[in-house]
C-alpha cells in the first residue's frame, strides 16, 4: 500500500498553506458543529445582540456623556425640584435624575462598564482557577485531590457576604476587591464540575494510550483531557457571568463594592430604595438593564449548552 501519484498530489494539496479549500469532505469539529447550531438559534442571536449592545453602551459611555452634556457624577441643581425631589424623565434627563440631581441616563451607561467588567473579569478568573484546580484534583488524585477538594468544600460552605464585609472592612472597598471576592467564591463550583469530569475521563482508554506513548501529566491534562471538558466549562462560564454581575450588584448594593460616586447598577438600586415611591425611574432604569444583561447571558448560556449537546438538533427544525 504505497502512496500513488494522485495520492501524493492530494497529500501536497493538504500540506499547502491554508486558505485553499481542500478537496473532499472536511471533518467538522464539535466546535464547528456547535457554532453551526448556535448560529441558527434565534434566542442565542437575540441574547448575543443584547449583550453586544450593552457592551457598546459601556464603551460609548463617555461619548454619551459628551452628547448629553451631563457628567456621570455631576450634580445639577435643575435635577431636583424646588421641594428637593428628583425630577422625572424629560428632554433634559432622558431617564430622569436622582436625589442628588445626577443624570440617571448617563449613570446607567457608566454602570454598564462596572457590571460587565466585574462580571466578565471575575468569571474568567474563576473559570481559569476552577479549571486548573479541577484538572489537578481530578487527574493527580490522592493527596492532591483530598486537599483541593476539601478546600473547595470549605469555600462553598463559606457565607460569602459575611466574608466580603469582613474583607472590605480590612482592605477597603474597590473594584478589584469585588472582582477578587467574586472570583474566589465562584471558582469552587467550576472546580467541582471539572474535577468530576476529569475523574471519569481519566479512566478512558485514550488517556491510557497517551500514557503508553510516554505523555507526561501536564500534556495529558491540557492536551488530552481539557478539550473534553471545555464544552462544559464554556457553558458554565456563560452562566457564571450573570451570576457574577448580580454578585457585583449585590456587593455594590450593600456598599461593599465600588466606592459611591462611581455609578454602578447595584449602587443605583441601593440609592433608589428611599425614593422609588416618588421617583420610580431611579429604581426601574438600572434594574431593567441589569435584568436585560443577566437574562441575555443566561439565555445565551442555555443555548450554548444545547449547541454542545450532540443529541439536541434544532438546526434542521428551525
Amino acid at each position: 500500500m504505497s502512496v500513488g501519484p494522485e495520492m501524493s498530489e492530494l497529500v501536497e494539496e493538504a500540506i499547502a498553506p491554508a486558505g485553499q479549500t481542500p478537496r473532499g469532505i472536511e471533518g467538522r469539529s464539535p466546535w464547528q458543529l456547535a457554532w453551526e447550531r448556535l448560529r441558527h438559534d434565534k434566542v442565542a442571536i437575540a441574547s448575543a445582540v443584547t449583550i453586544v449592545l450593552i457592551v457598546l453602551m459601556a464603551i460609548c459611555a463617555p461619548l454619551v456623556a459628551k452628547i448629553v452634556g451631563h457628567g456621570p457624577n455631576t450634580q445639577y441643581s435643575f435635577g431636583t425640584s424646588d421641594s428637593g425631589l428628583p425630577v422625572g424623565p424629560s428632554s433634559k434627563f432622558l431617564f430622569g435624575a436622582d436625589e442628588l440631581g445626577r443624570d440617571v441616563f448617563v449613570r446607567v451607561f457608566y454602570g454598564a462598564r462596572i457590571s460587565l467588567l466585574a462580571g466578565v473579569v471575575a468569571s474568567l478568573l474563576a473559570v481559569a482557577a476552577g479549571v486548573i484546580i479541577g484538572l489537578l484534583a481530578g487527574y493527580l488524585g490522592r493527596i492532591v485531590d483530598t486537599v483541593l477538594s476539601r478546600f473547595m468544600d470549605v469555600v462553598l460552605s463559606m457565607p460569602y457576604l459575611i466574608f466580603a464585609i469582613a474583607l472590605v472592612s480590612v482592605v477597603g472597598p474597590s473594584l478589584s476587591v469585588s472582582i477578587a471576592v467574586i472570583a474566589f467564591f465562584s471558582f469552587a463550583a467550576v472546580g467541582r464540575v471539572v474535577r468530576g469530569q476529569v475523574l471519569s475521563l481519566s479512566q478512558r482508554e485514550f488517556v491510557e494510550a497517551a500514557r503508553s506513548l510516554g505523555a507526561g501529566p501536564i500534556r495529558i491534562m491540557f492536551v488530552d483531557i481539557l478539550p473534553n471538558v471545555l464544552a462544559q466549562v464554556i457553558v458554565y462560564a456563560t452562566l457564571l457571568v450573570p451570576a457574577a454581575i448580580v454578585f457585583e450588584a449585590t456587593l455594590s448594593f450593600f456598599g461593599l463594592g465600588v466606592t459611591p460616586p462611581t455609578a454602578t447598577w447595584g449602587g443605583m438600586i441601593a440609592e433608589a430604595q428611599n425614593y422609588y415611591q416618588v421617583a420610580w425611574w431611579m429604581l426601574v432604569m438600572p434594574s431593567v438593564f441589569l435584568l436585560l444583561l443577566t437574562l441575555a447571558f443566561n439565555l445565551l448560556g442555555d443555548s450554548v449548552r444545547d449547541a454542545f449537546d450532540p443529541r439536541y438538533t434544532r438546526t434542521t427544525a428551525k
Binding site: 502512496v3 491510557e208 497517551a210 473534553n228
Partner: protein
C-alpha cells in the same frame, strides 16, 4: 541502549531463542479500599500473581483466559501502564521495572499498545491527524510538514485514506478507528506491540481485516506481538505460542497447535472444549467439559493450585503445594504446564461423580 548492569543474575537464555521481553515473577495487586472516610485497605485483588514468561523476538504470543483472569493487567504491566507490586520486567535485556516516567521514555519507543475499545481509545475532541501524530509530538521527533507527511504515510499503510487527516474519530467506523489505533502504535516503529483484545469489539468480518493488517505489518516490520484475546480459536490460529491464564497465573504455555491437540492442564482442556467449532458434526461428537462452580474471587484466591476447587482431577497435594510451570518429559521443550496431574494424550476429563456418558472408545 545501555544495559543497566542487571544481566548477570538472570539464568542463561537458550541460544536459539532471542528474548525481547522477560517477565519474572510479576505480581500486581490492587488494594481494595473500604468505602468509609478513612479508606483503609481491606484487602488486595490479586490480578497478576507471579507470572514468569518470555516473549521471543518476532513471535506472536497469545494470551488467553476468561474475563478477570488478569491478562489485561499483565499487558498493562508489560507496557508499564501499571507499576508492578513485585517482580521484574526486562525489555531487551534491560530492567525497566522501576524506571521513572522520564527514564522510561526511550523504552516507550520500543513498546506500544493497541487497545480494545476503538471508541474509548481515541480522543473524541482531537483530529485523527493529531492523534496519529501524538507519538511524534510526545517524543519531539519529526515536526511540521514532515510530521504531516509521516502521519499520512502511516494512514495509507494501515489502509486509511490519508485525505481524512482532518477528520474526527466520530467520522470513522469501528474497524477504521482500530486502524487509527494501529497507525498510532506503529508511528514510533516499535519492536513490541501489546494488543489488548484488539478485535473483540469489532464485527466478525471486520475482525479478519484488522487481524490480516496486523499480520501484514508484523511481516513487514518484524514486529513482536503480545496478543490478548478470549477467543481461543483466533489466538491459536495467529500465535506462535499461546499462554493460558487462570486467576492471575500462567498455567500452560504451548505452541498454538500443540495446545489444541495436547492440552496438559485440565483448565486448558476445558477451555478448548468450550470453544466453538464451525463443523456441526464435529461439535456434536465432541465432549464438552463444563466446569463446576465459579471463578473464585481474586481477592482471596484458593491456596496452592488456583484451579483445585473446580478441577476434576484435584487431589490433596493440589490444595497444599503450588505446581511449578515446567515442561513434561516427552513433551516439546517449549510446552510448559503447571499441574500436578497433567492430562495424558487422549485422556478423558470428567468429574469423578459425573454420570458416565457413553464412553468413546
Amino acid at each position: 541502549m545501555s544495559a543497566r548492569g542487571t544481566t548477570p543474575q538472570t539464568p542463561p537464555v537458550p541460544v536459539e531463542t532471542d528474548v525481547l521481553v522477560h517477565l519474572e515473577d510479576v505480581v500486581k495487586h490492587f488494594p481494595v479500599r473500604s468505602s468509609s472516610l478513612l479508606r483503609r485497605n481491606v484487602g488486595y485483588v490479586h490480578a497478576v500473581d507471579g507470572v514468569t514468561l518470555d516473549v521471543y523476538r518476532g513471535e506472536t504470543l497469545g494470551l488467553v483466559g476468561e474475563s478477570g483472569c488478569g491478562k489485561s493487567t499483565l499487558a498493562r504491566c508489560i507496557t508499564r501502564l501499571h507499576d508492578v507490586t513485585s517482580g521484574r520486567i526486562e525489555l531487551n535485556g534491560t530492567d525497566v521495572t522501576n524506571l521513572s516516567r522520564r527514564q522510561l521514555q526511550p523504552f516507550r519507543r520500543e513498546m506500544q499498545m493497541i487497545f480494545q475499545d476503538p471508541f474509548g481509545s481515541l480522543n473524541p475532541r482531537r483530529r485523527v491527524g493529531s492523534i496519529i501524530g501524538d507519538p511524534f509530538a510526545i517524543h519531539g521527533i519529526v515536526s511540521g510538514a514532515e510530521r504531516k507527511k509521516a502521519v499520512q504515510d502511516l494512514m495509507s499503510q494501515v489502509g486509511l485514506n490519508p485525505e481524512h487527516y482532518n477528520r474526527f474519530p466520530a467520522d470513522f467506523s469501528g474497524g477504521q478507528r482500530q486502524r487509527i489505533g494501529v497507525a498510532r502504535a506503529l508511528a514510533l516503529k516499535p519492536k513490541l506491540i501489546v494488543c489488548d483484545e484488539p478485535v473483540s469489539a469489532l464485527d466478525v468480518s471486520i475482525q479478519a481485516q484488522v487481524i490480516n493488517l496486523l499480520l501484514e505489518l508484523q511481516r513487514e516490520y518484524s514486529l513482536t506481538y503480545v496478543f490478548i484475546a478470549h477467543d481461543l480459536g483466533l489466538v491459536q490460529r495467529i500465535s506462535t505460542r499461546v499462554a493460558v491464564m487462570y486467576l492471575g497465573q500462567v498455567i500452560e504455555v504451548a505452541a498454538g497447535e500443540d495446545l489444541g491437540s495436547h492440552p496438559r492442564h485440565p483448565y486448558s482442556a476445558a477451555l478448548l472444549s468450550a470453544s466453538p467449532i464451525a463443523d456441526p458434526d464435529a461439535a456434536a461428537k465432541r465432549e464438552r467439559l463444563v466446569l463446576r462452580g465459579d471463578v473464585p474471587s481474586p481477592i482471596s484466591p484458593p491456596p496452592a493450585c488456583r484451579f483445585h476447587p473446580r478441577c476434576p482431577k484435584a487431589e490433596a497435594i493440589c490444595r497444599e503445594q503450588a505446581p511449578p510451570l515446567v515442561s513434561l518429559p516427552g513433551d516439546d521443550e517449549a510446552h510448559l504446564v503447571a499441574c500436578h496431574f497433567p492430562l495424558a494424550d487422549g485422556e478423558r476429563l470428567a468429574y469423578r461423580d459425573a454420570e458416565p456418558e457413553q464412553a468413546t472408545a
